[in-house]
């Protein structure tokens, strides 16, 4: 284990994440302008989507593929429910629902980092998990809101006009990143190996390097939020820091374990099992917060967004991936 741990910790991607975090804590003015970060994330979604589509096109849609997608959707539907039950003891209803949706959904960058981890140690994984990832982005949002409405009585978020369900579904399923991933996936699937040959120099070759740059930015951003968090106590709306820290890690471990067990149950390969696990363990900090701002304006992004971005994300890419990989190996042997 220590090996994969180290090889993960010393991978360029992780080291650039640490560099970003260091820069923030050292109060360096290092900064990746927003449009640059946007460009890199667009690139990553575009590339991972297309590559996944090509992979799908080469392997016939087998029962295992469908099983994986089913498992992914199942996780997206079930995880938010028990998460809600747990965290509603610690946070307000609105915040609990938002956290449930956030952790039921996924983090594309965590997924990409996991695939990068597998590629580096030469373990294969199925392209259909890109589809699984895209499919897992949205459902939790609906579940989370449903839980909230059940708990508060429909329309409790009435102050201001109420979010029409259709509006929410659009926000959820037509979120920019979801459309980009699924669209690229479809296009890659249609073009197959042919298309990959055409685009490989952009979407394959520089991929690892672009991920490094993006994780550099993620390090900056996550650390900034952690800092805001620790300095926020003065303000009125300061969130319960320790509770956030603990829940952020606990939820990652719990959800990851659930994903791992499910993966084992349906007998996924080593690589696929890790991907499903990390999808389950990861939390969304783009699609879901966007929808929550809309659906649950009362929920405090300083809680659910910070937990997903500044606590769960770093935990997953630094400890989660090698840890769960280790556990998967134990289970397999």
């Amino acid at each position: 284990m220590s090996v994969s741990f180290l090889s993960n910790l010393t991978s360029p991607a992780l080291l650039f994440f640490f560099l970003g975090a260091f820069a923030t804590f050292a109060r360096s003015d290092l900064d990746i302008p927003n449009p640059v970060a946007r460009f890199i994330s667009i690139y990553l979604l575009f590339a991972i989507g297309f590559k996944g589509g090509v992979a799908l096109s080469t392997s016939p849609v087998s029962a295992e593929v469908l099983l994986s997608l089913g498992a992914a959707l199942l996780l997206a539907a079930v995880v938010p429910i028990y998460v809600y039950v747990i965290v509603s003891r610690l946070f307000s209803t609105a915040n609990a629902a938002a956290i449930a949706a956030t952790y039921g959904s996924i983090s594309a960058v965590t997924f990409v980092t996991a695939t990068n981890y597998l590629d580096r140690i030469g373990i294969t994984w199925g392209g259909h998990f890109v589809a699984a990832m895209a499919l897992m982005e949205a459902p939790a949002i609906v579940v989370g809101l449903f839980l909230y409405r059940r708990a508060t009585g429909a329309g409790a978020e009435m102050e201001g006009e109420r979010t029409s369900v259709s509006e929410l579904l659009r926000e959820a399923f037509l979120n920019g990143s979801v459309v980009l991933i699924l669209g690229s996936l479809l296009i890659g699937w249609l073009n197959g190996e042919e298309g990959l040959k055409e685009l490989a120099p952009l979407i394959k070759a520089p991929f690892a390097g672009m991920l490094c740059l993006f994780l550099l930015d993620m390090g900056l951003v996550a650390a900034r939020r952690l800092r805001d968090l620790s300095s926020a106590d003065s303000s009125e709306r300061s969130p319960p820091n320790l509770m956030m820290l603990v829940s952020g890690i606990a939820l990652a471990v719990a959800n990851g374990s659930v994903g791992l067990l499910l993966a084992h149950l349906i007998g996924l390969s080593e690589g696929d099992a890790l991907l499903l696990t990390m999808l389950s363990a990861s939390a969304s900090y783009i699609a879901v917060p966007a929808a929550m701002r809309l659906a649950l304006p009362d929920a405090n992004p300083g809680i659910y967004l910070t937990m997903a971005l500044a606590i769960t994300f770093p935990f997953n890419i630094v400890i989660g991936i090698p840890l769960f990989h280790y556990l998967i190996r134990l289970l397999i042997s």
Binding site: S41, R237, A290
Partner: protein, 98 residues
């Protein structure tokens, strides 16, 4: 130059279309939007330079003539601010007619 009211509305970027609709509804066809603003308020600190695209504000500048329009506009803007947060400042100004 004609006297007018200058509205300055700060709102979450993702709600731009809502505010534009409210402007249209109030019969206001002229406005300016400044993108890529950050800020801080009741809903905490917002960074314009953030990977989570939700965390960005934009600033609307609207010049309107006549209290009727103003009233209507405010009536349309208030619920949006109530729901999604933000601020709306109204001040007097002179409109240079060209």
């Amino acid at each position: 130059m004609r006297p007018c009211k200058r509205l300055e509305i700060v709102i979450e970027r993702s709600q731009t279309h809502r505010l534009e609709a409210a402007l249209k509804a109030a019969g206001v066809s002229g406005f300016t939007v400044i993108q890529n603003a950050g800020g801080s308020g009741d809903r905490g600190y917002r960074r314009a330079d953030d990977v989570t695209d939700t965390d960005e504000n934009c600033v609307f500048i609207v010049a309107v003539e006549g209290d009727a329009v103003l009233e209507q506009l405010i009536a349309g803007v208030r619920p949006i601010l109530k729901r999604f947060g933000g601020v709306c400042l109204v001040s007097d100004a002179q409109w240079l007619i060209h």
